[in-house]
Symmetry: C2
Subunit: 347 residues, 2 copies
């Protein structure tokens, strides 16, 4: 381990001078400075961040707590936080609770979660983090919150009960509204919807957007055109079966997997997607770009969520007044091939 002290010895100056030079603080003769720099290089000096931070009393680090890193949305969000941090010279430390792997969708054992979370927060605090980003693995109201936290925290892809802390999620409703509007613009009037479960936040929001688009275009909302799936492909197939028999010309599946189910149904019944029937999904999962015809879907601003969190967090760290609002980031419509004009525009 090459230390400042060793360099000082070799160059016959004091540690302070070496420190100054290495940090570009000037205060050394041209010659000495060069000698020090060269020696540092030659001896492969690597500053010890632990010591530096201990001394400076600031870690320049924020903590990311993820509910589960292996769930599809999480890596992108972490990536966003990471990128933003890099850009502003901050660092991250990652704490993965592995909630999904441990408990799947069982969110009833609040106590266990609470315990895990508190341990995680404590751990982050031990690392002297200056703020924390909490990344949920699906959008929902969190019922457990850190018991004791001494730094700013911000929630991504979920939002805390009671709105005591800021949160960044995406705008489900407008995305669904835009997508439905696009279908209407293409001449579709009988548009089926394949929702997720009714108790899902996403279902509710997307349904609202769908309904608003219909309303604003003077189309009667027909509850018979709404089916409820469970986000799986097979539930999409089942819903498609029902919907297509009602004579819909377009189907809006609330996620890409269920949209694939619609594809499957159509393939079986030799309905040509984009011609005989239009289909849209949601989430922009890998498969949506790969299927044929490519699936029109909604891209989630995951990376932006991460970046926005970082920005808000650093503002909060900088003692700016924190507002505890929920920020909703817009999604982008990915118009691809699966939505075509209505085959029989005459109503």
């Amino acid at each position: 381990m090459t230390t400042i002290k060793k360099i000082a010895e070799c160059t016959h100056v004091s540690a302070a001078t070496v420190s100054n030079v290495l940090n570009g603080k000037g205060g050394a003769s041209e010659a000495k400075a060069r000698e020090i720099l060269e020696t540092a290089q030659r001896m492969h000096y690597t500053p010890n961040l632990l010591a530096k931070r201990l001394k400076n009393q600031q870690s320049n680090t924020i903590g990311i707590i993820t509910e589960d890193l292996t769930v599809f949305n999480t890596p992108e969000i972490v990536d966003g936080v990471d990128a933003a941090c890099e850009a502003m010279g901050m660092e991250i430390i990652l704490g993965n609770m592995r909630l999904y792997k441990r408990y799947h969708n069982d969110f009833t054992d609040t106590q266990k979660h609470q315990q895990l979370l508190d341990k995680m927060v404590e751990h982050m605090l031990s690392h002297q983090v200056e703020g924390i980003v909490y990344v949920g693995y699906h959008c929902r109201k969190l019922v457990y919150l850190p018991t004791r936290i001494t730094v700013p925290i911000i929630y991504a892809y979920c939002y805390p009960k009671g709105q005591k802390y800021p949160a960044v999620i995406y705008d489900d409703e407008n995305a669904a509204y835009n997508l439905t509007t696009l279908m209407i613009q293409k001449g579709h009037q009988k548009i089926g919807a394949i929702c997720g479960p009714l108790d899902s936040f996403h279902t509710l929001e997307r349904l609202k957007g769908y309904q608003r688009a219909l309303f604003e275009n003077g189309i009667l909302f027909n509850p018979g055109l709404v089916q409820y799936g469970d986000w799986t492909r097979s539930s999409g197939v089942a819903a498609a079966e029902v919907l297509i028999q009602t004579g819909v010309t377009a189907v809006f599946a609330f996620n890409d997997e269920m949209a694939c189910g619609v594809y499957e149904y159509c393939a079986r019944h030799t309905l040509k997607i984009g011609t005989d029937i239009s289909v849209a999904g949601f989430d922009n999962r890998d498969v949506s770009a790969d299927c044929t015809p490519s699936l029109t879907t909604v891209n989630l601003p995951l990376e932006e969520i991460g970046q926005t969190c970082t920005r808000l967090l650093t503002e909060a760290i900088g003692e700016k007044p924190v507002d505890t609002e929920i920020t909703r980031l817009p999604c982008t419509l990915l118009e691809r091939e699966s939505i075509g004009p209505c085959p029989n525009p005459a109503k």
Copy 2:
């Protein structure tokens, strides 16, 4: 910030004693000890890890460098490393190079990569990591390696040129061999293969496994039954078209996406998968479980790769003799519904 010193003041003992008690080192009267513990609790004492580690001269931390966190295999591997570390009281720090996002599949700009990597390693070293896991985003021979590294390093999902360092990958060949063997056991003799590009490590290995299975079962290898795709669904459709016309009864797609392409082709031509024709994929992507019929595929031991890396790394850190072998972890065959008996077992 509650420090040991403050606790010492409050309890009228020295910092040394507080330290001893807090670390369960004994050397204090029952009464004093209890008082100290209580005070620490009450004042929400959180140990400062920076100071602790600086003093102890060991960080208990390993660094994970990922080529790109957002590529499908990476989070699982990171999760595996993380889990293993947690189990042995180690910590991780994550450094994401974002190679895929920055350059996509362009690995020609070696210099840039080299620079990024060196910066990353330097950064990790600054954090006093005791070892490094490098997570590639696809299996290949790495042409750039850290210029200077002073701690053990181990490669996951890729392997370094010249084999100077240990690596952990998975066993493509045996997985393909097992899968092909399964098809043969079900009576299939004309088995088509849809490979990835010929210059891919995965293609080569899997092809070897496929060929070995044929050979061991006395089936002539017919090059006409091998098609080359580019891992995308649409290339799977195209390959299926060719293969199925040759009269194959089973198709082994070298990834799930291309297998989905086969599904699509079959749906269009009303071929029933698992009955009229058997299909298998590789990778166990989400879609494979969701499609109908569910796709028989190969599960990649991603988490195990992470765990194995951690184990090997900690051994290396413990000064155990390091061997620089490539460890190949077995994949598991996920037998689902898409492979059925051969429709006309008479050859």
